[in-house]
Amino acid sequence: MLLAETLAPAFSWNPVADLREMWAYPFMVNAFRAGAVVAVVAPAVGWFMVLRRQTFAGHTLSVVAFPGAALATLLGISTTLGYLGACLTAALVIAALRERGRSGGAEESAATATVQAFALACGFLFVTLYKGLLGGPQALLFGTFLGITTGQVGLLAAVGAVVLALLAVIGRPLLFASIDGDVAAARGVPVRLLGAGFLLLLGAATAEAGQITGSLLVFALLVMPAATAQVLTARPVLGLVLAVAFGLGACWLGLIAAFYQPYPLGFFVTTFAFAGFLLAHLGRALAGALGRAAPRTGVPA
């Protein structure tokens, strides 16, 4: 898992040489490809999740990814399928629970938490049953870029394309339903159906992000880029574009750092995303301070 111990590549500060060195390894090429897919899909879906305040549902879906991947390893099938199967199933369960309770209510969050705890317990059981390689649950929880096959990249890309296409179709009504549910419903927008549909998209995006960051750190790509973008702009389209750009940046920088440093990938992706978030806040605070300091001329009170 800690690549640097065996290969000991050295960072040369020459980007072309460094990229050439990394991309000489097929698994790194796959990791970059998978990272690109995930870093576009997760921040775009995450932008809506942050706006809808469904981070708890997102967190539960990500925790559910863990037993899914553990079960897939136990059964000897692709972990990507395990992530996807578990997350989509959990999204359906949460959507069904929402149908009964009022969305956003206490009942919903309690039910979601119940699902989460049970999923985590199952994941631990599966990992214990497996007793195999992968160094225990660490890789599933905190991410790895090793062992992403070309087939998995293809599956990630296909699922990602479907998620993005669906998001493009429902995006505007979803935005309307997210900020203004009552009025949207009065205008004929199927608010409840969109809510359930969005949970499925969130499940798919979480499963994809879990592939890179591990299931405990999916927020590095799901929440942080979106939250950073929302610090910087209140424009929906610009916000989405910025979120994707920040996601890509954090993911690829994380991959490069993890290739050259003997520390886990999830740590680096999260750290870069967190740094971006702090910088955005700092930038806004500075802009605010400068705006206050600058003399206001020509603006009548």
Binding site: V169, R172, D180, D182, A186, R235
Partner: protein, 282 residues
Amino acid sequence: MTTAPIDHATVTEPPAPVPAPVLELRGAAVRTGGRTLWSDVDLTVGAGEFTAVLGPNGVGKSTLVKTLLGAVPSAAGTIRVPARTDVGYLPQRRSFDAAVRIRGIDVVRLGLDGHRWGLPIPGVHRARRRAERRRVDEVIESVGATGYAHRPIGRCSGGEQQRLLLAQALVTRPRLLLLDEPLDSLDLPNQSAIAALLGRICREDGVAVVMVAHDVNPILHHLDRVVYLAQGRAVAGPPAEVITSETLTRLYGAPVEVLRTADGRLVVVGVPEDCRSCGPCC
């Protein structure tokens, strides 16, 4: 041959066609959970008329608005309301907290195209999109929200948010505007400013306004008609006829007194115990 001179003065002009009312309720009733919330409600609202729905809490004022929206079916009588696209709706107090990072102008824009599926393809429908942008700017201007429409709506004050939401409801040029306690939680100057704005929209643009109100006083001199709901019944008519001691006593079936203060405000006293939980309603 003589022709009888036509006396123009006596020719009776055909009566000016009475414009069809924007909305009409005849003997409407709503049942929820096996219980009749209210019944026998008659209401006619024409273009450019301002109607308030009054009554104690829990009597079904919001439900009346939802019935007019078509979201709650009427159990009896007939209801004629404009098509959904001709109705602007402002639900009961929504406020955006400071964390909501969406600009006011985007919220208004969603009122125009938020129900459309898919993304606008660059270069297609350019004329329509330009017209829509102009319409959004125009309606924001008309409610006086231009100064803060580009700020995140969570950063706007309650009165500013209410103006932006009003712009959102008006952006499709509705014939009927349904408002559910839009003045709630606003301070007094903002209450009278929004009330005056609603009165202007109603008169100048000919929009029929139906507004649920907790307190009739801020809108009293803009009103053409009130519907007073109480004890599962309703009285409709001009405010001067409905908000009187006699009418309300009959409606409540208990002695109720309407007092007029020196500054013209109406105060209803003696509302029966089971209706009083919310304090003075009128």
